[in-house]
Amino acid sequence: MPAILGIDLGTTNSLIAVMDHSSPRVIADQATANKDSAATLLPSVVAIAPDGSVETGRRAVEMEPHLTVEKNGAVSAVGFPGAEHGAVIRSVKRYMGLGGAEIAPEDRARYTFADLSGPVVRFQVGHRIFTPPQISAEILKALKHRAERALGESVDRVVITVPAYFNDGQRQATKDAGRLAGLEVVRLVNEPTAASLAYGLGKMAEGKVAVYDFGGGTFDISILNIKEGIFEVLATNGDTHLGGDDIDNAVVDWLLTGLPDELRRERRVWNSARAAAENAKKILTDKAEAEIALELPGGRTIGKTLSRAQLEEIARPFVARTLERCAMALADAKLAAADIDAVVLVGGSTRMPIVRRDVAAAFGREPLCSIDPDQVVALGAAVQAGVLMGTQGDMLLLDVVPLSLGIETMGGVMERLVHRNTTIPTSVTEKFTTAVDNQTHVDIHVVQGEREMAADCRSLARFKLGPIEPQPAGLARVAVTFLIDANGILNVSARDERTGREHSVDVKPSYGLSEEEIERMLEESIDLGEQDLERRMLIVARNDADQILAALHKQLSEYHNLIDRSERARIEELMSRLEAARVGEDRQLIAGLVEELNDQSTPFAERIMDAAIKHALEKKSVEQVS
């Protein structure tokens, strides 16, 4: 069986990891020269050009409308100027599985939408329309390709992590994204629980463990009991709309204070300010002050100094909200902070000193952060993939459902069938009967949430039981089983108590994509023809060939004085062989020639580099003299 991989599909960054023997490892992007840990992070950013072509990650970030300072000092705008030309979408996770009415006001203003009233938000890009799972699928495809390139084998099955506090619809949307990316999602795992697996694997955390997961867009707290390889979640709580992004946005507000509204609302200005805010926040992890310089159109400049104390003032209310959630989780687990044996920090936002300090104070102990907080969730997802492959021996995760599930009863009251923090998979069977004579259908409305009235909870699905044989009222008995699977997703089945016959249940989700819509998207998917790995590897090899051929053509004409005749002849001979192979279908041959050409031209490339450095130094000394 081919390996199952682990994916952390984050709000800000996404990663993919694999089990290497018995330890997990994140897979870096081989296409970048960058060999530090940043190469393992794929920015969760998708750029869609007017012709429908898609870029992801760093290349998508470059296409985002922002301001750039030219060499002559002029400020110019780069990237797509507006939705009619293309769009760059970041933080798509904030839109997953939500209906238009549920989107936060600041998230509504960020993009152009075709539909903000239906059960699924739809992004408008030129004449095209995209749903959040389609955008997420592009991120998943990029990770899939990255892993296939690194491992040299096809990747078809994955574990994907989701915030523990994701509701049913958000989970379903994540599964849909996987399907649209051509992946079988073997399991959805909660992010904090995944992190606990990574820590628990090395026995770095045991007993009662609190996992504090403060990411780019979401916050989760999970309390676990880790004992002899069993990872039992006792309680979980969180906020799917609370993350480092919110702190960045608050810094942007501070940065742009006093500017006219039309300038503040300008997408390019806002994007540049957001990047500056994020950067300042990172600097303040180690330093006491960060200088922010923001160039605006029309030659105006904002220069401000942000101190760590100021940043902490801005961040404090957000951190306080996370601690309220921690207290709720502890109460649900029937534990006091003093009962906790270890606190684990997960997510990029836990790098902020204020977060570390306040969490330490709340739990009365120094938190653990020995595993990179950006990587730990992906590593844990790979460990869970190992469990599912049967290679992780005795480890077993017993997770919970984060929100109560119930049905709407008479008078609109929510009758709770599954309480929050119930271990999954779990099922409950409820008996329904008819209220009037000869009734042939019973309508059932399933909701999720903690409020008393169904209208205040989130609608999950509606379905009709039946057809029921016409009988006097109250005689028919239909047993409906609500089963929440190990992914935290609801499955419904129904059986006629009298006849024992299974009823078909046509569950209509209140939010999200219908089965037909997904099928249609799969058919329309442009690169479905590219699914074949061999085909894709061939394209990659051809691209590599094009790159090296173009570079060498240019260098051979520009730096003809740096190469002698025999070396030139040898390189040109290889180049013509590669040009011939490139139009063929033999990937091995193309890849082999690229490698050979690379080896043969390295001394020449080094001479060019030396010359360039020498030239730059000479120029500098001339300038210094004058």
């Binding site: 073997v186 005795d394 017993l398 271990t423 998979p425 779990t426 099922s427 089963l483 190990a486």
Partner: protein, 215 residues
């Protein structure tokens, strides 16, 4: 008789197959699911050990690569196992379930306040009424009232602990004494209804405290 979805062998219903050990995916009562005798006294640690051990063997994570029939049975059996564990882990819900297996329901004769705690119920209701009034009239003594409620909560918790201990103690006795089934049932019902009332009172007090603090 049921058929094992993994190996096809026909057998009496159990959590796992007698021949291939795969989960059968059939419904059982909570005691049967955990292979426990139908007794009221259960040791917490032993229960957790059985639950963990069975989970390790039948959980869907162990059947991720199995055929659909086995996967489905694993999911259903694990759901049953988890539900059984939760029901039996808490002494109160265990007692209620034990009654249910004998066709007895607490709600049948739980209409009136149990005499043992009638005084307490009355006092709590007065306290809560007072704090609601103070809140409505924006009076400043809310700190005193809150302290009063906090004290009350401690008293309720102590009473609760007492009943819980009595419940556990009696479990052992009841298990041994098989003679007076009817007496046992009414005794069990009495303690359980006291506990149920105390729980409601504690929830009301907590609610009252939240209201006072919000004011």
């Amino acid at each position: 008789m049921v058929e094992c979805p993994s190996c096809g062998r026909r057998q009496e219903p159990h959590l796992t197959c007698a021949s291939c050990a795969a989960p059968l995916g059939v419904e059982l009562d909570c005691f049967e699911a955990l292979s426990l005798p139908k007794r009221l006294a259960i040791e917490d640690e032993a229960l957790e050990r059985v639950y963990h051990d069975l989970s390790r063997r039948i959980h869907p994570d162990r059947y991720a690569q199995a055929p659909a029939g086995s996967r489905d049975a694993s999911m259903r059996s694990t759901a049953l196992l988890t539900r059984s564990y939760r029901t039996l882990r808490d002494p109160v819900s265990r007692g209620l379930y034990w009654l249910e297996l004998r066709g007895q329901k607490l709600s049948d004769d739980n209409k009136s306040v149990p005499p043992e705690i009638a005084d307490m119920v009355f006092e709590v209701q007065e306290q809560l009424a007072e704090s609601r009034e103070a809140k409505r009239e924006h009076r400043a003594e809310s700190a005193d009232l809150a302290a009063g409620l906090e004290d009350r909560r401690v008293v309720l918790q102590t009473a609760m602990n007492g009943y819980q201990t009595a419940l556990r103690g009696n479990f052992v006795m009841w298990d041994m004494d098989r003679q007076s089934q009817q007496e046992l049932i009414s005794e069990l019902k009495l303690i359980l209804s006291n506990i149920a009332y105390l729980r409601t009172l504690m929830r009301d007090v907590d609610h009252g405290l939240v209201e006072l603090k919000a004011a």
